[in-house]
Amino acid sequence: MPVSNTVDFMTIVAARRLRNHCTCFVGIGIPSKAANLARLTHAPDIVLIYESGPIGTKPDVLPLSIGDGVLAETADTVVSTPEIFSYWLQGGRVDVGFLGAAQIDKFANLNSTVIGDYNSPKVRLPGAGGAPEIAALAKETLIIIPHEKRKLVERVDFITSAGYLDGGDAREKAGLKGGPSMVITDLGVLVPEEETKELVVQQLYPGVSRDEIKEATGWDLRFAEEVSETEPPTETEINALNQLLERTRIAREKQQNVLR
């Protein structure tokens, strides 16, 4: 059974990275899908935290937004937004933070603010949300982004959330710990190189060539010493994900019928 699309592939690759019992700060979209897939497969005791306040939430279906009722109903506790950021994220209790962005550069700095100049932007994006502090304070961050030349760029137009800044020990020198450990795209997986902190290809998805991934990248992309082919999704992974998506579809349909 093939995965239905590359989004599902990204979800499964991201889910694999999450260990059981780890504490994961989750955003909406693929992060939420991946975190819940991990919980429903190999990581039943993973602790999911959403920035709207739910801690230890175990939704049966995927929330559409970060503050959905299903998150509160299935959580161990729901705290206020100031508390989620102060006691929980800043308090050092988050192992893995999940981030997306409109742009990422070769040192894994993220832009979710503007394309173009800040004061007269070409595209005004939604903005930072919880990202700057997740990027600064989670023990590691996983980044999920579609692999396009205009998204993976030499230098982001605006640093919303710090990655490795100018590379090397720049992040550490600035006083930040943690940092991006993995960038999951729809072509492969990039990781920061040990010394330089430049993102290099560690995994390629089955059927993706080196040229193809280089071509889709806005900087002169390099490869790790050993590049592996990503394990194809297992039947367990695919089934769990399909069931989750199906439950979600049914729940949303039911909800719409109630409302209109």
């Binding site: 729901v78 206020s80 502090e133 409302l259």
Partner: protein
């Protein structure tokens, strides 16, 4: 002690041109009815504050009520961008929009500082980020004990904060639960607080240590059942995801936006009529 005016009376009394106002709610309990009333009363030059501006602030911006927005994430949750917000920033329509950007963490610290009578709040934040370059209300300070570099953000004290809650009792004590966001802090940071509620009851029957705003911290309580539509109210009604999805097309062009606002909001006598006009439209 809280008053119990109608929503239109309350908005008329409390919200003035040029005010700084915050209509809070994190997906849950967004005070749409109150926001529509502000639009209908034609307020101008407002500074609007919220962690997660969504459709409501998009509507207020598009209708020309807003001079400045203080925010962290301005999007349509689960859907995409806010077109009226973008049009204001990118093209200055209907007029230029000033912005002051923080993160969720920093804005909740700023409102918490406001509620706490502090002139600033501190957090581990913004190191390496470009945001402080464009916001003079973010500065860095050094911890006198550890030498750590910490971000300081200026406290925010809105003229008026508006929230929606599940219940108030007849004295005006307010109870909310579920995803409570930064509403308590926002309410306590403001000079005046207006709360719209689903129900007014004899007894709150609140659990111990619940999220409560005592009557004497609330200026006005307005009974507006359904007033958080199309967002949701925990234990009362679910989120109308369709309305959020439809907003994308409605708000994409100035024309469809203006017409929709005129048809559904400006012409409606009250929030109940607005919801009826939507149902009529969708069938």
């Amino acid at each position: 002690m809280a008053h119990f005016p109608s929503l239109s009376e309350a908005i008329r009394e409390l919200v003035h041109d040029g005010d700084t106002i915050a209509l809070e709610g994190f997906t849950h309990l967004i005070p749409y009815a109150a926001g529509h009333e502000i639009i209908k009363q034609g307020r101008r030059d407002l500074t609007i504050v919220r962690l997660t501006p969504d459709l409501l602030y998009d509507q207020m911006i598009g209708m020309g009520c807003v001079r400045k927005m203080i925010f962290a994430w301005g999007g349509n949750p689960g859907v995409g961008m806010l077109h009226r917000f973008r049009d204001a920033i990118e093209n200055g329509w209907p007029h230029a929009l000033e912005i002051e950007e923080l993160s969720h963490a920093a804005l909740s610290v700023a409102l918490t500082a406001g509620a706490s009578g502090l002139p600033m709040g501190i957090l581990r934040g913004f190191i390496g980020s470009d945001l402080p370059k464009y916001n003079k209300n973010i500065k860095f300070i050094t911890c006198p004990f550890s030498g750590d570099k910490l971000a300081a953000v200026r406290a925010i004290n809105p003229d008026v904060s508006i929230i929606h809650a599940q219940k108030a009792d007849r004295k005006g004590n307010v109870l909310l639960w579920g995803i409570i966001g930064v509403q308590k802090e926002c309410a306590l940071a403001a000079k005046n607080c207006l709360v719209t509620v689903e129900e007014i009851v004899d007894e709150l029957d609140a659990p111990p240590n619940a999220c409560i705003l005592p009557s004497w911290t609330v200026h006005s309580v307005c009974h507006v059942p359904g007033g958080a539509f199309p967002s949701y109210v925990h234990d009362y009604y679910e989120r109308n995801n369709a309305a959020y999805i439809e907003w994308d097309a409605i708000s994409k062009s100035r024309e469809t936006f203006s017409q929709w606002m005129e048809t559904h909001i400006m012409k409606a006598k009250n929030f109940e009529q607005f919801k009826e006009s939507l149902s009529a439209h969708s069938t």
